[in-house]
């Protein structure tokens, strides 16, 4: 897992080789795969146990310390929603920009998006306390015929996340159909029956491609503003309030850049070991990782600017509460979280200016871990640290983090990892048909298209 061999930008395999190589990822998994799956299931069980205890004992088990009534669970919710942004960025936005490097990586990032949003969606439910009445968030009236408050950003969030989950899942399934058909035509027995069912009668006939290609384009066009809106809406959960450290107009772009940054970080964390476990080294090359690293650098630099701007605005506003909040972020009781965020996100990402670092998988993997850590800390700082020093100094309190917080956090990684690993074993993690689209069919008379 050191330096990657330079390979040409476009795939050099034939169509048959692409099918063969991608299908090989669905054959009997290696020991490393089973170990990873076992680890994920074990982590999920820790989370499940913690959740059962929360149901039984109540939210008192978690480290809620007034005035910090949004803490690790909401931090982790925003963290996972952010992770979900890289998938749609790569699959939809880069599709519209006709970026050729997205082809090999978009399927796995899209799956990551769906599973990350599935993970995130658990957190508001865990956090609300009386989990069995979570459906009160949905727009239906209660017995007094009262409707939800549509002026509340929390309701916007319900709509944004449900829409994002539905559209990302749809996009993933639609993209999978031709590939599932390719698998169907290569396997036999009960697997053929299952893949036949999921291929929805796909044959690759011109009458199907004609509507498919157009439909996929429109789905990408619809998903593009959606991906930018979702984290903006999440940011308004905070920015619409008047808590110092939250009430900022830069929150939407700041959150979107952070979400993409964290998403790409997670893509790197997942893809670097995955290419080895699934033997995809010749498909996921230097070219792809270099581009992912450049995207990390770009979004990391935007974050650097946003952090600087937040401090500047706090100082320039002349508002004592705002100034105190930012002073305490750096030098207060939670300084360790504040500095972890700045070092991991603003400074570590700047190492990616060096090509040698961008094309070395070991260094990229280490950086991706820093990105994940840094982005979790960023949300913890914004949420818990801002709440811990509200307008009333006598109420200031440093939040406690208990075993129930850690249990759910660990469980969320297990829940996410479990789905991702099962997906990688069941469906093609590299888009067969899009890779083939980049490889010209052979010509009888030679020459290119």
């Amino acid at each position: 897992m050191t330096a990657i061999v330079h390979q040409p930008h476009h795939p050099t395999q034939t169509h048959a080789e692409v099918t063969r190589d991608v299908l090989a990822t669905l054959s009997t998994p290696s020991r490393a795969y089973y170990m990873a799956l076992f680890g994920a299931v074990a982590m999920f069980l820790i989370g499940l146990f913690t959740f059962v205890m929360l149901l039984k004992e109540g939210l008192g088990l978690a480290g809620y310390t007034p005035p910090v009534m949004w803490s690790v669970y909401i931090t982790t919710f925003v963290f996972w929603i952010g992770i979900g942004h890289a998938g749609t960025l790569i699959s939809a936005i880069l599709f519209l920009f006709r970026s050729p490097w997205r082809t090999a990586v978009y399927r796995s990032t899209e799956a990551m998006t769906v599973f990350a949003v599935m993970t995130a969606a658990l957190f508001p439910i865990i956090h609300i306390g009386r989990q069995w009445i979570f459906y009160w968030l949905l727009p239906y009236p209660n017995e007094r015929w009262l409707w939800p408050n549509f002026k509340s950003p929390l309701i916007w969030d319900v709509f944004a996340i449900t829409t994002y989950f539905t559209v990302s899942t749809t996009f993933l399934i639609v993209g999978l159909v031709p590939d599932v058909a390719a698998v169907r035509d290569k396997v036999s027995g009960w697997r053929k029956t299952i893949y036949k069912l999921f291929s929805l009668g796909w044959t690759g006939a011109d009458s199907q491609w004609r509507h498919y290609s157009r439909g996929y384009l429109y789905l990408a066009a619809l998903a593009t503003p959606l991906v930018l809106s979702v984290h903006s809406v999440v940011s308004w959960d905070f920015a619409m309030s008047i808590i110092p450290g939250w009430h900022g107009t830069i929150f939407a772009p700041y959150f979107v850049a952070g979400a993409i940054y964290s998403g790409i970080g997670m893509v790197l964390t997942l893809l670097i070991p995955l290419r080895r476990v699934l033997k995809l080294e010749h498909m996921l090359t230097e070219y792809h990782f270099d581009n992912l690293a450049k995207l990390t650098l770009l979004t990391g630099s935007i974050l650097f600017y946003a952090y600087a701007m937040e401090y500047f605005v706090a100082w320039y506003s002349g508002n004592t509460f705002e100034q105190t909040t930012f002073w305490r972020r750096a030098f207060g009781p939670m300084w360790w979280a504040g500095w972890s965020m700045i070092i991991c996100n603003a400074f570590v990402s700047q190492l990616l200016w060096f090509r040698k670092i961008r094309t070395n998988l070991t260094s990229l993997f280490i950086i991706s871990i820093f990105v994940n850590l840094g982005m979790w800390f960023e949300r913890f700082v914004i949420i818990a640290s801002s709440l811990s020093n509200d307008y009333l100094p006598y109420a200031w309190q440093t939040p406690a983090v208990t075993w129930a917080d850690w249990g759910i956090l660990i469980g969320s990684f297990g829940w996410f990892g479990m789905y991702f690993l099962l997906f990688a074993r069941t469906f093609p993690v590299v888009a067969i048909q899009e890779i083939k689209e980049m490889i010209p069919y052979p010509r009888k008379h030679g020459g290119g298209h």
Binding site: A16, W147, F159, V174, T203, D206, Q208
Partner: protein
């Protein structure tokens, strides 16, 4: 119950220019109802088939418009159904409702697009038309529905164009 086989000739091509030559030859002889199988979309084949742009866009438009209308209608009606002053805002405040209308535009637009893709793909029935598993791998398939008396000529045209294999169905 197995679908009734559509009589015709199925040819497989390893070379795209050979397939394009065969398709243009068939079209010149008046064969319009061709079925061309490829593992991925191909511009040369799209050009020679010269099909009109898919109507899936209409589904997207209708879905999007329904979404935006539903978004505003739901929020405005529900607010007025039990009028409560919240945060000093009007009972039905448009700016916050734009967020919900936007989300529903995307949601309905996407779901209608997928519905359109499925419905329009079903318009042309592929039942009874032969298919070979290698068409989703590395070969291009061309199926020409034709009567028994047309079969020799079609077969000859496909072979001359450079087909790897030609089979007659439902004869």
């Amino acid at each position: 119950m197995a679908a009734k086989t559509v009589p015709g000739v199925l040819a497989s091509f390893a070379h795209v220019d050979a397939a394009v030559e065969a398709i243009s030859g068939l079209k010149a002889r008046g064969f319009r109802d061709l079925t061309v199988y490829t593992a991925s979309p191909n511009h040369e084949i799209e050009e020679v088939l010269d099909q009109p742009v898919s109507w899936v866009r209409l589904f997207t438009l209708i879905g999007g418009l329904t979404g935006v209308t539903a978004g505003f209608a739901m929020t405005i009606w529900m607010s007025n159904d039990w009028p409560l002053l919240v945060g000093g805002k009007p009972i039905a405040a448009i700016p916050p409702y734009v967020v919900l209308a936007f989300e529903l535009t995307i949601l309905y637009g996407s779901l209608c697009t997928v519905a359109g893709m499925i419905i329009l793909s079903l318009v042309k029935s592929l039942k009874g038309r032969p298919f070979h598993p290698r068409f989703s791998d590395d070969l291009i398939g061309v199926f020409v529905p034709c009567s028994a008396d047309q079969t020799p000529a079609v077969r000859e045209l496909l072979t001359t164009a450079g087909s790897e294999e030609v089979t007659v169905h439902g004869a």
